[in-house]
């Protein structure tokens, strides 16, 4: 079952083509990857007062930063040497999805376009840099095919909530009779996955019954007293 990825588990590496190893940037505390798709406007006389566009060239970039440290990771001195050599190099933007899902790896060739080191009195020194991607990127590793629900046009999405009294294994939302619950949360945590047949998955799943307007909870995780349940149904 998928879980949210903590930012700590998103790491930028420099890929070394000589020995096929990947070296993280030293003491990095942040990394940001951005992909932009430029557009060409194709608005014409039949566009009926709306602009129309088609996709054009894609560009992407990565920014990262961290604490200044001279360790055996890709440290600030090595970064500065890269800049002086005016080299392009390969980076891997790696997301650890956790558990069985493993890693999702974004790989591409970049050029360092800016680099900053900051030293403030009595604070840890920091560095930051911008990488401009050149050429196409590739992705590898874990993928999950997205799936979704059919949203029926013409009907209103409604919010329903209920507070548990304790130990319930199903929460009824009488106003949602005949509707389809598209989202549910319990105590602020998303009920995931929501199924429409079978048994609720442990520990945070649920099964919605359209005909009864009832959200069935996992047997091992019934509601506790005062727990707030909220659904979006249509």
């Amino acid at each position: 079952m998928a879980t949210e990825v903590n930012g700590r588990n998103i790491v930028l590496y420099k890929y070394n083509t000589g020995d096929y190893t990947s070296t993280p940037f030293a003491c990095a505390t942040s990394c940001v990857r951005t992909i932009n798709t430029s557009t060409r406007e194709v608005t014409n006389a039949t566009s009926a007062f709306y602009r129309e566009f088609k996709p054009d060239v894609i560009d992407w970039n990565i920014s990262a930063g961290g604490f200044v440290i001279l360790n055996d990771e890709y440290n600030y001195v090595a970064i500065e040497a890269l800049i002086a050599a005016r080299e392009t190099f390969i980076v891997q933007f790696v997301v650890d999805n956790g558990g069985a899902l493993g890693l999702s790896i974004f790989t591409g060739t970049v050029i360092i376009t800016s680099y900053t080191i900051t030293g403030n009195d009595d604070q840890l020194g920091t560095y930051s840099f911008e990488l401009q991607g050149t050429g196409a990127y590739s992705t590898s590793g874990a993928t999950v095919t997205p799936s979704g629900a059919i949203i029926i046009s013409g009907t209103t999405m409604q919010v329903f909530q209920a507070t548990a009294t304790g130990d319930e294994t199903a929460i009824t939302f009488s106003g949602a009779l005949g509707l389809t619950a598209l989202y549910a949360s319990r105590g602020g945590t998303t009920v995931q996955p929501i199924a429409y047949v079978g048994a609720a998955s442990e520990p945070n799943g649920g099964v919605w019954n359209t005909s009864t307007g009832e959200l069935e909870l996992p047997a091992g995780n019934p509601a506790f007293a005062g727990e707030l349940f909220l659904i979006l149904a249509q």
Partner: protein
């Protein structure tokens, strides 16, 4: 002369669904060795259609190719020699998809090249020309030096384009379906219309430039000359306003033509999706430009004659000590002739010997009864009592055998034409032995026939020697101008005036400079458009209708950026052929317009005007010009203006 491949540039375009790779090959004259790739910069290959106005009847449409490369990491010792004076040192050929589609060919211009002299990434721009502008400085050279020989227009056109010296030769396509009575419609008009080369002479007797020759031919046939897909085209402005064009294809060898019917019109429509949309407006800049039409269109032809109607009259061609294409009859005994120069003027000095020595040009343009003759020459001779400096026999011999001599050698009030006067001569008397410029205006001969002129020195009290040079003959018509006017309405006097060099009816005078002839030298008449039954007196009248069709009414041109430079429609029909190609100046466009008012462009046809083709961006930016092949109802007048 041979060329070796020295540089290449390759870049992939953004066309959909399958990106094309464009390759530019640059060949250096006499080069043998490896080829070197240039790194393409942004927008590395841009073609331009060079036009200074939105005039659809611009006869010469030059194209160029701008190449932008990154030379930062290129060995500068291997760069092209931009200091060379040889305009043809670097020959450029541009292809798409390997060598599948020839896009363009020409030469790098060395006139203005800017090379960065600094650090950082270094970009260089090379501009390549199709060569038409080079023809401005190249005089025309006819196939036969005899100026009175008539060449068919396709030979003239090929002679001009061959001056470009394209190493691989070229294909040329003729798309102007105008024919005279008696012509074979399975052969292009250009191969059947003849024009004496004397009419390409300037007043100083040098030949007009090849550029001017092409310009006059295209103007007179309502056509444009341009390069499209590496091939030359002479294409009617009007005939491209069709879904199909019919043209004749041959090579620079000007051999047998093949007839091709090609479907080439493409439609610019609103963008739908990458699969279904091939040509569409982009960047939302498209505008309609409305131009008021000309209710009155006037085509003028100045009736004139070539400045020289005697071949080799200036003795510029000499073989074996005698002037080419002249008959020399030496006097018996010691008659002589030899090349001589006086006061910087080179000619021939001839001595009569014991009777007469005669010089006679073999090639003189025919003269009509209505035309005056203007004869001039340089003459030097020692005045001898009772003897003219030289005698002229100026004779017109009719088809019936009678002849008229123009004479002043008997007691007359003034010189006159004398019937069958065998001894009739025109005496040129001299008062000094200096070099004289002689000019004789000869009135119209009484009848038509073959004109001959003899220059005669004869014996008198002593033998005569005369020096003759710079013989020039031209004619003068009773009329000065032919004017064909088209008037569609009387709402205004707004008029467009066009000068037409060739194709006038010219008062039925085969020698007049506007006359097109058949291969027997007869005037071509009874002109018509292929597929249209109406017959007109002259080609000029047909062209007047074509101008009227396009410009008598308001036109709506379109300025835009359009996506899509590749037409991948292949038509397997054995007659109507369409092969995939890169869009070029020959292509015609229509535009989808859902509007129905007077500003709708639905159903209109457009040809390219001034524009830029960005091959890698797969876009075209510029103006497209409305054209039409539908006859507009107009009132025509055809008038000969008498000379003042």
């Amino acid at each position: 002369m041979s060329y070796g491949l020295k540089y290449t540039i390759e870049a992939q375009a953004k066309n959909e669904p399958t990106a094309l790779t464009y390759t530019v090959n640059i060949y250096e004259k006499d080069y043998i060795g490896s080829s070197y790739p240039f790194d393409p910069a942004t927008n590395p290959m841009q073609g331009q259609i060079l036009s200074g106005s939105d005039e659809p009847f611009d006869p010469i449409v030059s194209t160029s190719l701008t190449l932008t490369i990154d030379i930062t990491d290129f060995d500068e010792t291997l760069l092209p020699d931009f200091t060379t004076n040889d305009d043809r040192k670097y020959w450029v050929k541009m292809y798409a998809s390997g060598t599948t589609y020839l896009v363009w060919q020409g030469f790098i211009i060395m006139e203005s090249v800017t090379v960065p002299f600094t650090t950082g990434r270094l970009f260089l721009q090379m501009i390549c020309t199709d060569g038409l502008a080079l023809l401005k400085s190249i005089p025309y050279v006819p196939t036969d030096p005899d100026i009175n020989i008539a060449e068919d227009l396709s030979t003239t056109i090929t002679n001009c384009l061959n001056k470009l010296s394209l190493p691989d030769g070229y294909y040329i396509n003729y798309c102007a379906g105008y024919y005279a009575t008696g012509m074979d419609t399975h052969i292009s008009m250009f191969k059947q219309a003849y024009y004496p080369v004397r009419n390409w002479l300037n007043n100083d007797l040098t030949y007009k430039s090849c550029y001017q020759v092409l310009e006059e031919i295209c103007t007179s046939t309502g056509s444009q000359i341009f390069q499209s897909n590496g091939e030359w085209w002479i294409a009617s402005v009007n005939e491209r306003a069709e879904d199909q064009i019919r043209f004749f294809r041959t090579t620079n060898a000007n051999g047998v033509e093949s007839i091709v019917i090609r479907w080439k019109q493409r439609e610019i429509a609103p963008y739908q999706n990458p699969t279904d949309s091939q040509w569409y407006f982009i960047d939302n800049e498209q505008t309609k430009i409305i131009r008021k039409g000309y209710p009155i269109i006037e085509l003028n032809h100045d009736l004139s004659f070539a400045p020289q109607c005697i071949d080799n009259g200036t003795f510029s061609r000499i073989t074996g000590g005698l002037p080419d294409n002249w008959t020399v009859t030496l006097g018996t005994g010691t008659g002589t002739i030899e090349e001589e120069t006086y006061n910087g003027v080179t000619g021939f000095e001839f001595f009569c010997g014991t009777n007469t020595t005669i010089l006679q040009p073999n090639s003189i343009a025919p003269v009509r009864a209505a035309n005056k003759l203007l004869l001039s020459f340089a003459l030097k001779a020692i005045p001898i009592t009772g003897l003219p400096g030289i005698k002229l026999e100026i004779r017109v011999t009719t088809s019936g055998g009678d002849f008229y001599n123009y004479r002043n050698d008997i007691d007359l009030d003034r010189p006159e034409w004398d019937l069958n006067a065998t001894a009739g001569r025109y005496d040129v008397d001299l008062s000094s032995d200096q070099l004289n410029n002689i000019s004789i205006t000869i009135p119209s001969p009484p009848a038509e026939g073959v004109l001959t002129i003899k220059f005669i020195v004869l014996i008198g009290a002593t033998s005569q020697t005369a020096f003759l040079a710079n013989v020039r003959l031209t004619y003068q018509s009773l009329f000065e101008k032919q004017v064909i006017t088209s008037k569609v309405n009387t709402l205004s006097d707004y008029k467009k005036t066009v000068q037409i060099p060739l194709g006038s009816q010219s008062n039925s005078d085969e020698t007049e400079s506007g006359s097109l002839l058949d291969n027997a030298g007869a005037l071509l008449t009874g002109w018509y458009r292929y597929g249209v039954s109406e017959i007109r007196d002259s080609l000029m009248r047909i062209i007047a209708q074509q101008y009227s069709n396009v410009q008598s009414k308001g036109v709506i041109n379109i300025n835009s950026t359009t996506k899509g430079l590749f037409d991948n429609r292949d038509n397997i029909d054995p007659i109507v052929k369409q092969v995939s190609h890169i869009i070029g100046p020959i292509d015609t466009e229509t535009v989808t317009d859902s509007g129905t008012g007077p500003l709708s462009v639905d159903g209109k046809y457009y040809i390219f005007g001034a524009s830029t083709f960005n091959y890698i961006d797969d876009t075209y930016n510029g103006i497209i010009l409305e054209t039409s092949n539908v006859d507009v109802t107009s009132t025509f007048t055809d008038t000969l203006i008498v000379a003042k």
